[in-house]
C-alpha cells in the first residue's frame, strides 16, 4: 500500500511542481505573487479540449496550440494588468492579481459554461488507460508514466533554459537587481514577458495533464490547484525554481500519505501543516537561500 500511495503522491506532486515553477519564476523576477496563474492552468485545459472538439486537432497538436495560447495569455496578463503597476506598491499588484484570477474564472464560466466536462477520450492515445506495470497490489498506468515523463522533461528543459541560455542569464540578472540589469542593457519588459510565457507554458501543460488524468475540467479548477501550487512554491523557497519542483513533489506525497494514513478529510490540512512547519522552522523554504538584509 505504501508503494501505491507514493505513486499516487508523485503523480499529484509532479503536477503541483509544474504549476509551482510558474509562480516561483514570476516571483523571482518581479516579486509578484501571480494569483491568476491557476487560471492559466485552467485555460490550458479548456484550450486543449476546445482545439480537439471544435477544431478537430489531434491530441499532441492541440497540446501545442493550447501551450501557445496560454503563453500569449500570460504575456497579455502581464501587459494589461501588471505592467502599469510595476512601480506601484507591491500590495496593489497583489490585489490586481487576485482580481484577474476572479475575472478569468468568470470569463471561462461564460464561454464554456459551469458544468464539468470530460476530456474527449477518443482523442487520447488508446494505451493511456492500460496498466504499464502491475506488481502485486501496486499498479501504474501508462498515463501516469506519461505524466512523469512530460513533467520531468519540461523541468529539465526549464532548468537548462534558465542556466544555459542568454535569456535565462537575463532572467537571473533581473531577479538579482532589476535596475542594475537594465543599466547593463537588458530589455526588462521583454525578459518579464518571456518569464510569464515560460511559466504559462508549464501551467498549461499541468492543466492538460490534470484534465486527462482525472478526465474532468471545470472553470473553477484553477483556484485550489493555484493555492496548492503556491504552497508548494513557498515550501520549496519562493523564487527558487528547483525549490518549487521539490516543494511540489513533497506536497503531493505528503497529501497522499496524509489522506491514506491519517484521515482523508485532513488531506488539505496535512498539506498546509507541512507548509506551516517549513515556514516556522525554515522560513526560506527547503531550497531557498536565506535572505540577507540589505540594510
Amino acid at each position: 500500500m505504501l508503494e501505491q500511495q507514493l505513486i499516487n503522491g508523485l503523480t499529484l506532486g509532479l503536477i503541483y511542481a509544474l504549476i509551482a515553477v510558474g509562480y516561483t519564476m514570476v516571483y523571482g523576477v518581479i516579486q509578484l505573487i501571480n494569483f491568476a496563474h491557476g487560471e492559466i492552468y485552467m485555460l490550458g485545459a479548456f484550450f486543449c479540449v476546445t482545439f480537439i472538439t471544435a477544431a478537430g486537432l489531434p491530441f499532441y497538436a492541440a497540446i501545442l496550440m493550447a501551450i501557445l495560447c496560454c503563453m500569449l495569455c500570460g504575456i497579455l496578463l502581464d501587459i494589461i494588468a501588471y505592467r502599469p503597476l510595476r512601480k506601484a506598491p507591491r500590495l496593489a499588484a497583489l490585489i490586481t492579481a487576485i482580481g484577474m484570477s476572479i475575472f478569468l474564472q468568470n470569463v471561462a464560466l461564460i464561454i464554456w459554461g459551469s458544468r464539468s466536462r470530460p476530456f474527449p477520450q477518443s482523442a487520447l492515445p488508446p494505451f493511456f488507460r492500460e496498466k504499464a506495470l502491475v506488481i502485486g497490489d501496486v499498479s501504474l498506468t501508462w498515463l501516469q508514466l506519461f505524466i512523469f515523463a512530460v513533467a520531468i522533461i519540461m523541468m529539465i528543459g526549464l532548468y537548462l533554459t534558465i542556466n544555459k541560455t542568454r535569456i535565462g542569464t537575463a532572467m537571473r540578472a533581473l531577479a538579482q537587481n532589476k535596475t542594475a540589469a537594465s543599466l547593463m542593457g537588458i530589455n526588462v519588459n521583454y525578459v518579464i514577458s518571456f518569464t510569464f510565457a515560460l511559466g504559462s507554458a508549464m501551467g498549461a501543460v499541468a492543466g492538460i495533464l490534470v484534465s486527462v488524468y482525472y478526465n474532468t475540467l471545470y472553470p473553477t479548477m484553477g483556484y485550489t490547484a493555484g493555492v496548492k501550487a503556491f504552497a508548494a512554491a513557498v515550501l520549496g523557497g519562493i523564487g527558487s525554481v528547483p525549490g518549487a519542483m521539490v516543494g511540489g513533489v513533497v506536497l503531493g506525497v505528503a497529501e497522499a500519505l496524509g489522506a491514506g494514513y491519517v484521515s482523508s478529510l485532513y488531506r488539505d490540512g496535512v498539506a498546509y501543516a507541512v507548509m506551516i512547519a517549513v515556514i516556522i522552522f525554515r522560513p526560506s523554504g527547503i531550497l531557498g537561500r536565506s535572505v540577507v538584509d540589505k540594510a
Partner: protein
Amino acid sequence: MRAKNWTKAVLAACLLVLVCSPAWAQKIKIAVAAPLTGPAASYGENIKSGVETKVEEINAAGGINGVMVEVAYFDELCEPREAAVVAPRIVGDKDIVGVVGHVCSSAHLAALPTYVRMGMPVISPTATNVTISQQNKDNQGRVWSFRNVYLDDYQGYFLAHYVKEILGLERIAVFYENNDYGIGLKNAFVAEAKNVGLAIVGEEGYVKGATDFAPQLTRLRGGNPDGLFISGYYNEGALIAAQAENLGMNVAKFGADGLDNVDYINLGGAAANNTYMTVPFLAEAAPEQAQDFIKKFEEKYQRDLDWMSANAYDAAGKFAAAVAAVGTDRTAIRDYLAGINSMENAYIGITGATYFSEIGDPEKSAFVKMVKDGAFTAAPKQMQ
C-alpha cells in the same frame, strides 16, 4: 368630534377598498434560490431549466388568470453564508409568491429561519437532509418549507436493503462528501447496513471539489470490498469510480440521487458502468402525461432530463396551482400547499403524485436506475 368621525370614515373606506381589491397583483414572481455560479453551478442550472420550462409553459397558455409569471433568480453558490444573505432579499420582494430552492441542504438550512419567521412559502426540489423538517414550523405550528424530494434517511435505508437483498453484496467501502447531504445519507445507510448484515470495510470523507481520491481508494482496497457506496454528487462520484477502476477495483458502485446526472457517465467513462442509484424520478416509470414534457425538455436542453429538473418543474407547478386557486397572498399559498396532504388531493406532476406529511415532507417512492453500456437504464429489479 365631527372631524374625527370623518377621518374614521375615510379610514374605513380605505380599509374596505384594500380588503375588497382583487387579490391579483400586477406581477407574479417565483424565486429560484440556487447556486448559479461557483463550483456547484451545474446543480443550479438543473433547477433553472426545470422552473424555466414550467414557467414558459404557463405563460404560453396565457399566464395565471391572465397575469404572466416571472422568475427571479438568486445566486447563493450552495453556501450557507450566501443563502442567509439571499433569503431576506427574497422575502423583501413583495411580488414573489414562493421560492423554489434551495438546492443544497446546508444552504436550505441556513435560509430556513428567515422564511419561517417572515412567512414565505418555499419548496425545495432537492434538499434531502433529515433535520430540515424539524425547523420548518413557525410559532403557530404552520409549516412554511415543503420538499419535493424524499429524505436521506429513507434513501440510505432503502439502499442498504437493495444492495444486500437484490444485488447480493457483502462488503461495502464507503465514500461520503463532508456536508449535511453526504453525512446524513451515509449515517442512515451504515445504521441499516448493520441490521441487514452488510460489512463496512471503511469510511472515507472528502470535500466538495476534490479531484484526487487515489490515496483513500488505495486504503479501502485493502479491505477487499465488493461494493463501493458513494454518498455524494456526480462530479466527484464519477472521479471516484474512474480512479477505483484505475486501481484495479472491480466493484459494484451505488449511491443516491446525488449521482443521477448524465455527467456521471460522461466524466466516469467506462468506469461508470455497473453503478446503481436511487432516484425520485425515472423517465421509464414516469406517468404518460410526462412523456411529452420529457421529449420537449431533451430537445431544448440537449441532455437527458435529470431528477433535479423534474422536481423543480413540479415545484414551480405547485406554486402556479396555488396562485391560480388562492391568489398571491403568501399565507394563503402556504395554506393551499399544506392542504395537499393525502393521496386524494395529491398534486399530479411529472414525478407522479406527491403529497406532504404534516411536517412538509413528501410521500414518494424510490426507483433504482443503473448505468449499463454507458447509458442510464432502469435497474432490472426494483424493490417496493
